[in-house]
């Protein structure tokens, strides 16, 4: 008998304890959210892993850049000749330059946004995404800035697109050096928004069919939505003073891509596509509304 009975008992005890611990954590997590014991565990784990995640992110960035560069090559078939010539000169420097150029472009977009009128009422905290939820059940990103940098719970977070910046989510948890952002495409996210130009307002939640697009709910059938124009959706505030909105108004969210009506429903069905590509989140800005 090479393995003793004690060892078999120990195996069963270890598995049993681990299963019990997992179920206890799950129950506590469900009941307490990000407060209490589970919140403490989460913040401790974040504090421990944040520096390592940052280092790993920096170390793997060239690989990521190389991957994006290669993926770009596959996609851009019409630029084949130019890329071939570029490939001849390519090597480690080309990959690095490509990565740096993309980063500079993003930072320029951020800078452009910072200097724009839209950002005049905010202070910005630049941040890098160091971790991302590994599946669609929960859409979160982890940033390398925390309360020590001025980040607070419910701060809006934007990412650059074109000449502006679009809302990606809000801070739901923060430690001194890192913070977790719930993306607007997370199924627990709901953002109050209004359609510009126009007066229609509604609640933006991830669409049931495709969580990568948003569905604007509670827009009455009588609300005028002029689909002949380019319609932008921005964050809005409530009409009552009793409930304070989590996000300040006027932050761009996305564009209206479909409006439909049904005779059976008293509401319009409005599909909104976010401005930001959530697959390519690297540099973001945490917005701090300026106090007068």
């Amino acid at each position: 008998m090479l393995i003793g009975k004690n060892r078999l008992i120990r195996r069963r005890v270890i598995i049993g304890l681990l299963l019990a611990a997992s179920l206890t954590l799950l129950t506590l997590s469900f009941r307490q959210g990000s407060q209490g014991v589970t919140g403490d565990i989460q913040r401790t784990a974040l504090a421990i892993t944040a520096p390592v995640s940052g280092v790993v992110h920096r170390v793997t960035q060239p690989v990521v850049d190389a991957y994006h560069w290669t993926a770009g090559l596959v996609d851009a078939r019409q630029e084949n000749e130019r890329l071939k010539a570029q490939l001849d000169r390519a090597g480690a420097n080309a990959v690095e330059n490509e990565g740096l150029r993309a980063q500079v472009a993003k930072l320029q977009q951020e800078l452009h946004y910072v200097h724009s009128k839209a950002a005049a009422s905010y202070d910005e905290i630049g941040a890098t995404v160091t971790a991302q939820s590994p599946n669609d059940y929960s859409r979160t990103v982890t940033l390398d800035v925390g309360t020590a940098d001025g980040v607070a719970i419910n701060d809006p977070v934007v990412a650059p697109y074109g000449d502006g910046a679009g809302l990606i989510g809000r801070v739901i948890s923060a430690t001194a050096s890192s913070s977790i952002v719930m993306l607007i495409v997370d199924h627990n996210s709901a953002v109050y928004g209004s359609i510009m130009p126009g007066t229609a307002k509604g609640l933006l939640v991830p669409s049931d069919g495709d969580p990568n697009v948003l569905s604007m709910d509670f827009v009455g059938i009588d609300e005028a939505v002029d689909t002949s124009k380019e319609l932008t959706v921005v964050t809005a505030t409530y009409r009552t003073n009793k409930l304070q909105p989590l996000l300040p108004r006027g932050i761009p969210i996305g564009r209206v891509t479909n409006v439909s009506e049904s005779d059976l429903s008293q509401q319009k069905t409005i599909q909104v596509t976010p401005f930001v590509d959530f697959q390519d989140l690297t540099d973001v800005l945490v917005l701090k509304p300026r106090t007068p």
């Binding site: 078999l8 270890i14 990000s34 892993t49 690989v63 991957y67 971790a131 599946n135 959530f278």
Partner: protein, 183 residues
């Protein structure tokens, strides 16, 4: 020697969790990523036994959930069950294990099959658990955008990583097990 082995396992699990949430999401065309932690858990279940695999799976799962702000305990639970399921299949029942003294040798293809089966099991269980918690995604979307891509990417990653992990975790013989066991 035993301390060194434990340290190796801790580092493997830790960096698998960190890579899964920091680098992997940027390297995949979809929102889902290969389950690197599960590959390490399966490797540990194959080469080290259920205790190491379950402990590493629990800790790494907790880390992944905590860092990404998900409900704590979901990943840990699934990784512990996966470790137990793979180790049970590999070792046989307790009587077989006591008779043979350790995990049986097997081909690379069979190891990969265990990784694929574990991935499908974990992904389906994850989807069911999320649905039971009221946080599930549409059925068709879950199949097309979560379970299938994760299974394919994890299979590819497992095919590449399992041989490396086998080298990093040399198989313990029955003699090693007896020596390591307390008198």
């Amino acid at each position: 020697m035993r301390m060194l082995d434990a340290l190796r396992i801790v580092l493997l699990a830790f960096f698998a969790a960190i890579l899964q949430v920091s680098a992997a999401p940027q390297l995949t065309p979809t929102n889902s990523t290969p389950d690197l932690v599960l590959i390490v858990v399966v490797a540990l279940a194959l080469f080290r036994g259920v205790e190491s695999a379950a402990l590493a799976g629990f800790a790494a799962g907790l880390l992944v959930d905590a860092v990404t702000g998900q409900r704590l305990g979901v990943s840990s639970l699934l990784y512990v069950v996966a470790a137990w399921a793979v180790a049970s299949r590999v070792d046989g029942d307790d009587d077989t294990l006591m008779a043979t003294g350790g995990p049986a040798r097997m081909s690379s293809a069979r190891r990969l099959l265990y990784a694929i089966a574990a991935t499908i099991g974990v992904q389906v269980s994850y989807a069911v658990l999320q649905w039971l918690l009221g946080e599930g995604l549409p059925f068709r979307y879950t199949i097309d955008n979560v379970i299938l891509p994760v299974t394919i990417m994890t299979t590819i990653a497992a095919a590449l990583l399992l041989p490396l992990l086998r080298r990093a975790l040399p198989r313990q013989t029955g003699l090693d097990v007896r020596r390591a066991a307390p008198a």
